[in-house]
Each structure stands twice: as C-alpha cells, then as structure tokens.
Amino acid sequence: MRLLANLALQNLGRRKARSLLLIAAVAIGSGVVFTGATLMRSIDDSMAAGFSRLGADMMVVPEGALTNITAALLTVEPTDLVLDADVLAKARIASVGRAAPQKIARVEHSGIGSHHDLVDLVGFEPAHDFTIQPWLREKLNREFRAGDVILGAGRDVPLGSQMLIFGKPHVVYGKLGRTGVGTHERGVFMSFETLEALAGAVPQHGSSRPAALAPGKVTGFLVELAPGATALQARFAILSAVKGAKVVTGDSSLSGIRQGLSALLQGILALMVLMFASMAVMVSVLFSAIITERRPELGLLKAIGARWPQIVGMMVVEAVIATGVGGVLGVTLGVLVMRLYERSLVYYLENIGVPFVWLDLPRMAAFAAAAIVLAAAIGALGAFYPAWRASRRDAYDLVRGEG
C-alpha cells in the first residue's frame, strides 16, 4: 500500500542520524563482503590459471637428456633419447597425479621460418596435457583436431591460416602466451597423431630421423604430484619403477606461495561470514529498539484497523530500504576502492608470480547483486521478528507503550 510505504520512508527520515549510521554500517559490511568476494574469486581464478600455467611439479626424461628449468615451467629439451609412452601408466605410481607425455623433435628445413631455422615440433596429447593448453591466448572457435598446430608466442602467423610443414598443410589453431622460455616461444605444437604423420616427410640428414617421431615413444613426461604427495616420494617411486629415467623437479617455492595465498583467502572468507553475521545481529538489535520506540504508533495503526501483515510489512519495508541502500552504497564503494588499489594489487601479485586477472563482468555483477540482496535480506529478517512480535500484542498495550 502506497501510504504504508510512504510511512516507512518517512520514518527513516525522522531519525536522520540514526538512519545514516545504519546505512553506513550496512554499506561498510556489504562493501567489505563484496570487495572481499570479488578479490578472492579473482585471485583464486588467477592463481588457478597461473599455477596450472606454471606447468608441472616434475619431469621424467631419459637419463642423459637435457632439461630446462625456469621459474615458470619445466620444459623438455629435444633429444634423441626416448622413453616408452606407457612406462608411467604401467607403473601405476600413487604419488603421480597427472602425467603429460611429450614428443619433441628439433628439425631443420621444415618450411617454417627461414631455411636454416631450427624448429621444435612438440607433440602432446590434448586429453592429458596440462602445460600447453593453459597457455593458449587465442584460438579458433572449434575443437582442436588432427592437422592443427598451436604456435608459440614467438611466431607471428594469423589464426586459421595454412602452414606448410615439410610440404604438408596444417591449420594454425591457436597461439600461446609469452612464457619467457625460448624453446616454448619458438615451438610448434601439435597432437601426437599430427606429429607422427610427419615422420615420413622429415628428411634424414645423415643422422637418423628424430626418435620421438616413432609411435609409442616419447621424449619425456611432465608430472603433477598427487594431492598430498611429496616430490621425494614421487621421485623414488618413479626411479625404481622406470629404468633408464631421471627425474627433474621444478622450483618448490611456488607451491609454498600457493599454500600461503590459499590460507589467506580462507581467512578472508571467515571474516566475511563473521561480518555478515554481526551485521545481521546489529540490524535486528537496532530494529528491536526502533520498534520498541514506535510501539504507540504501531498500536495506533492496529487500533484503526491495520492487519498484522500491514504493520510488519511497513517495518520490513523501512528496514529493507535502509539496508538495501546500504548494500548499493557498499558495492559502489567497493568498486571505487578496487579501482583505486588496482595497480598496487596487480603489481604485488605479479611480483609473487601470480598474474592477476579481474573476475569477468557478469560474475562481478552477480556478486554485487548478491551483496545487495543479502544486505536487504538481513534488513528484512532483522526487522521481521520484532515487528511480528509487536504486531501480535493488544493494540491498547502498544498504544500505552507496553508490550
């Protein structure tokens, strides 16, 4: 009813200072929660992307193979030494979570780049790979398939264009982001199937054809530890199960950072829950007091025939307006604060090796809406119970200020 809604609105205006304090408190609460949730999700997503892009925990290669360890990822250097593609699978090692086999052939006169360029042709299994596809920065809008190649960031060929490799046509399916690792940036990546199909076309130059091109052979495996497993456990298990292999581990400080950040985010989550809980308590205490103060008016409304839903509705509308406005204000404030500190935050995170990417807009909008709705809901709940109790009292008791 318009008059009751009007009353609710007017009532807020009667105690301006108190209404403003309530709105401010809710704004701070919902602002912190919105900002916390958005940052947390963004950092979490960035971290998930960042760490999966960081590649593997360790690498299994033939003894004598060269390897390249950088902060960002482990890479296998091309070599003529190979392992059987199924050695790890057969060994069934519990401490190994995921294993991505790779075939690498360094070739000359491939038709890519200038004549004498050495090109690394890297074969991977799309289904098992976790070190190449996460780096995809742009790709065609379809599934990756046989005959497709993915280019390292160092090669500038448009997506979808045709690329001849040893005279065979391939389609440029995607491009990787910068990794800072030369072999990776110059690499041409394709499925095992595509790489093996090239075997016949690769000319033999005195030496034999790269061994990795043979079906069933791989240059090495990139390994991610099973949850809870240590690198030492995995190393022992692999070395005892796979003859002629060596295990190379990456930089262990990164997993430490990851665990630290996770703990921090969980702390923020706990803080957010507490924040909302205390906001709910505060709003209901405040509205109990407001309703006590307004008993004579509520009694009067009841005396002239207001039904209890009308009385409760009026109080709830008043609360929802206050907390809803607080929620909107809080979200606005949150957006401003995030804008303000964006630079230093991004700088800090990238410094510790986590590339920062903001949450996408639809999800951020969903968080904003959720924060506002939650704030309004807290208002509705906080006002409902005391209003409902008051509305059940005898009108006369209320009018006299009792009840």
């Binding site: 009007n6 007017q10 009532n11 008016e297 409304l301 025939g305 039904r307 005898d394 006369y396």
Partner: protein
C-alpha cells in the same frame, strides 16, 4: 447495539494481579449517547479498549452490532476495528509524518474498500466539516492540539462507524476547545445516528448524555 457481559480485565504486574475492570454489564442501544464517568484509575479506559477491540478481556464478552467481538479471528477483528468503530484517544494520536488528509484517509486506505480518489474526497469533506478545510496538506505539528483532536475525530469517522468511542478526548484542552469538540461529537451522534460512548470527568457534559455509566474500582455503581 453495545452489550457487555461480565467483562473483566486484570493485569499481571510485579506487585501481583491488578484488576482494572471487574465484571461489568453494560447495554447501550443504537444511536444513543452514553457518558462514562469515574475517578482516575477506575478502569474507564480499560473498558473502552475492550469495547473497541483494542484490549482482550480476561473474562466476559463484548457484543457490538450483534458481533461477539472477542471471538473474531485476527483478520475479522482488524476489520471490526477498521469499519465498525471510530476511536478517539485521550492524547494526540495522529501520525506525525503524514499530512492531515493522509491521516484521515488512512483507515479507509487500510481497509481499501473504495478507491483512493473517493476516499480522499471524503477525507477532505470531513476535515472541512471539522473546520480544518484550510489544513489538508498540513502536518500535525503545524496545527494546535485542539485542531489535532478534531482531525483525529475526522479520522474516526472516515469509515462511517456504527460506534464512536471517545476516551476523555478533551482532557488536555482548554475549555473553549472542549466545548467545540463536544459539539462536534454530539452533532455526529444526533445527525448521523452514530452511537457515542464518551468518557469524561466533566459532570456538566455527562449530564447532557442519555445514559450515564458511573464506574468505581472497575465496577458500575448505581
């Protein structure tokens, strides 16, 4: 029209049970003007509240226009207060954040029996009749106590109640204003035929009533 049978009310307080009204029998025929008199604390307001559907009796029954008031459901009781009874309180009872016209229209809007435009026209006419035609858009704080009381009477009349209950409506007003307000109430009683039950400590006023109910210690004295 109004029938009370052994209606009682006791309050549980820290000092024990206080009996405010102790078994009152009362009959007021339709259209009559009845005055309730008695000393302060004798239970007059409590009786009025029980008649008007504002305070549930501890025992006994109240019947208005054939309806057993305290056996109504919550919603029906709200409708009873809204439609059957006009209540004028002892104190200022307008909502301070609403204009006079809104205050007067409010009971009709709560019941929502007729459209808003009709209601507001009626509210304006009532205020006019109370001599407040120039204050439709004023807020209660902007007019005098006597004018506020007249607006409260207009509000009590907006739904054409069968029963008008006025609990010492003039106790805090000056004599001249008191006479004006009494005139208004008695005019409504005489011209519209609304049954009027008036609590007053002014014996001269009470003597103009067709029926005098004298209460002491929560009971009727002859």
């Amino acid at each position: 029209m109004l029938v009370c049978r052994q209606v009682s009310k006791s309050y549980r307080t820290e000092r024990g049970v206080v009996t405010a009204v102790a078994g009152i029998d009362l009959d007021v025929p339709a259209g009559r003007f009845a005055a309730v008199i008695g000393r302060s604390g004798s239970g007059k307001s409590t009786l009025m509240a029980m008649i008007g559907g504002l305070s549930r009796p501890s025992a006994g029954s109240v019947e208005v226009d054939g309806t057993d008031v305290w056996h109504l459901s919550d919603n029906a009781l709200a409708a009873f207060r809204n439609e059957k009874v006009g209540y004028v309180f002892q104190f200022a009872s307008l909502l301070p954040t609403l204009r006079l016209i809104d205050n007067v229209a409010l009971p009709a809007m709560l019941g929502r029996r007729q459209g808003a435009s009709g209601t507001y026209a009626r509210a304006a006419a009532l205020l006019e009749r109370m001599g407040l035609g120039g204050y439709l858009d004023a807020y209660p704080a902007e007019i005098s106590a006597g004018e506020q009381r007249r607006a409260a009477i207009a509000r009590a009349l907006i739904n054409d109640p069968a029963l008008l209950l006025a609990d010492e409506p003039t106790s805090d007003l000056d004599e001249q204003t008191e006479i004006e307000i009494m005139d208004v109430l008695r005019t409504v009683n005489r011209e519209v035929g609304t049954t009027l039950v008036l609590v007053t400590h002014n014996l001269a006023l009470a003597e103009q009533a067709q029926q005098i109910v004298h209460i002491a210690n929560g009971a009727i004295v002859a």
